[in-house]
Amino acid sequence: MSSPVEQITVVSSDGDEFKMTVAAAMQSEQLKQMLTDDSISIVKVPVENISTEILVKVIEYCQKHADHEAATKANGGGASDSEAEELNKWDAEFMKVDVEDKLFHILMAANYLEIKGLFDLACQTVADLIKGKTPKQIRKIFNLKNDFTPEEQERLSRQHNCSFD
């Protein structure tokens, strides 16, 4: 029987160690499963795919949302409209990253660790970002090749009245 765990340590791909409260860790389905499995006694959890820079952001999200959940429970149930709005505002600010790349790395980290809220938030942020872009710009962002033949391009352009650029 292991003694109750208060914190866990996660290790980034760069080798840096970070402590997370259990409440924060439970935001991740992956970490949650490890924590609730008595047969595993956790000391350190390596997250190979996630760099220090990204891991710091992810932990920040988890902690904020864990705190919000705790506060909601303490108030006896559903969050008030203003509290929910405040969290949404925090989320919006949180997603304002300086480099597009960081956004994708956060998205993949959220997917890997199975943090639903952060995953949906990141997907929505990317969607809002690419909404008005041209196919050419999309290819650049997602590192995709235009594999249509010239005839196919011609047909598609006519059909959808759009350009390939």
Partner: protein, 378 residues
């Protein structure tokens, strides 16, 4: 879950992630992104993506469609999105020569438009998806071309159908068109026999509804009709089973008018307007059907003029103003009544004096099956 593997700085994203991002995009962006690469084109066209995108749109960005009764641009509709932005949308995309047409109904982003005219020089009905600019004429049937028309989708049979009803005291004829089979067929009149239809259609949850009037006749010993006791009913057509049933009306107070069907929390609901004695103010009631009975769920605060309630949208009752007079240019023609706070929002769609028919609508990628069929009418 794949590791980040890339020569450049841009990471590789899995299919699941791309799917999750793309399903949040508006139809217009997705049409454009079909040109990105073959993989994206196949993904966007796939039935599972179209269904997921529809589901996401329905819950996250439901819209309203405004059809002006008389306007300077009879072939255009106004689309109002969640950000309260209005833009014009063509009733029959790609077909310019049509002068007008009336929207019968909308399901999953598809519109059924009645373009019949006296000349009958072309099919009377069109199906279209304005978001992806696809149009498909509905073949004419050998039967009667007038009558009451309804349009809707049934997830049970995964098919869109059009119902055409022609009934009077002596004769009834019902035909159903299936988009899947591309053909019309006759259907039992059933309980519709002897009823009078008194409204346009409304579609929800796999059923099409009309208001109706039933005349219960009293006969004497010899069989002569000596009296009648008519009452209003709701006619329901099950799209999957192709069968009519009758639903009761709620116990409306006698001064209720402008009844209109809508949905509230996925249940059939009804909006009615009540005038206030000795004033020009009005109240709106919302009734909801639970099981076989109706409950009044909401009554608005009094509003200082006549309102015509049209539908429920995003926790608001959408009404148009029926001022009964020529409106000034800056007067609102549309009102939202919040179901929780009872707050009132006023705004104008199109021109102030436009009276509109207002539908719930969602932009989708659902295909209608192509424009090429129209070549012979050009």
């Amino acid at each position: 879950m794949k590791k980040i593997v890339s020569d450049d700085d841009v990471p590789f994203l899995s299919e699941e992630i791309i799917f999750n991002i793309l399903k949040r995009l508006p139809a217009k962006s997705l049409i454009r992104f079909q040109c990105v690469c073959k993989h994206w084109k196949n993904l966007i066209e796939s039935p599972s993506f179209v269904a997921n995108h529809l589901h996401h749109s329905t819950h996250q960005s439901p819209c309203l469609l405004f059809e002006p009764y008389d306007s300077d641009a009879p072939s255009n509709l106004y689309l109002l999105d969640c950000e309260m932005q209005a833009r014009q949308v063509p009733k029959h995309p790609l077909i310019d020569y049509l002068e007008s047409g009336w929207v019968i109904g909308s399901s999953n982003g598809l519109l059924c438009v009645d373009i019949s005219d006296d000349r009958a020089s072309h099919p009377a009905l069109l199906l279209c998806n304005p978001a992806i600019r696809e149009v498909r004429p509905v073949p004419t049937t050998s039967g009667v071309i007038t009558g009451y028309i309804g349009f809707g989708f049934s997830p049970i049979v995964n098919d869109y159908k059009i119902v055409r009803i022609y009934v009077n005291e002596m004769f009834g004829n019902v035909e159903v068109y299936s988009v899947k089979t591309g053909s019309w067929k006759g259907v039992e009149v059933g309980i519709l026999d002897g009823l009078e239809i008194t409204s346009c259609s409304f579609t929800a949850n796999g059923d099409i509804f009309w208001f109706g009037f039933t005349l219960e006749e009293e006969e004497d010993e010899i069989g002569y009709i000596v009296g009648g006791n008519g009452h209003h009913v709701i006619i329901s057509f099950d799209i999957a089973m192709e069968v009519f049933t009758l639903l009761p009306m709620p116990n409306l107070p006698p001064e209720s008018h402008q009844n209109r069907l809508t949905t509230y929390e996925n249940k059939l609901a009804m909006l009615s307007y009540r005038g206030i004695e000795n004033s020009k103010s009005s109240l709106i009631d919302l009734w909801v059907m639970e099981g076989w009975s109706w409950t009044k769920k909401y009554t608005s605060n009094p509003y200082p003029c006549f309102l015509d309630p049209m539908t429920v949208w995003r926790n608001e009752i959408v009404c148009r103003i029926s001022a009964g007079r020529e409106m000034e240019n800056d007067e609102p023609n549309t009102i939202l009544l919040n179901l929780t706070t009872k707050e009132v929002t006023e705004f104008t769609v199109g021109r102030s004096h436009n009276a509109h028919c207002i539908f719930n609508y969602v932009e989708s990628l659902v295909p209608v099956g192509g424009m090429k069929l129209f070549a012979m009418y050009v």
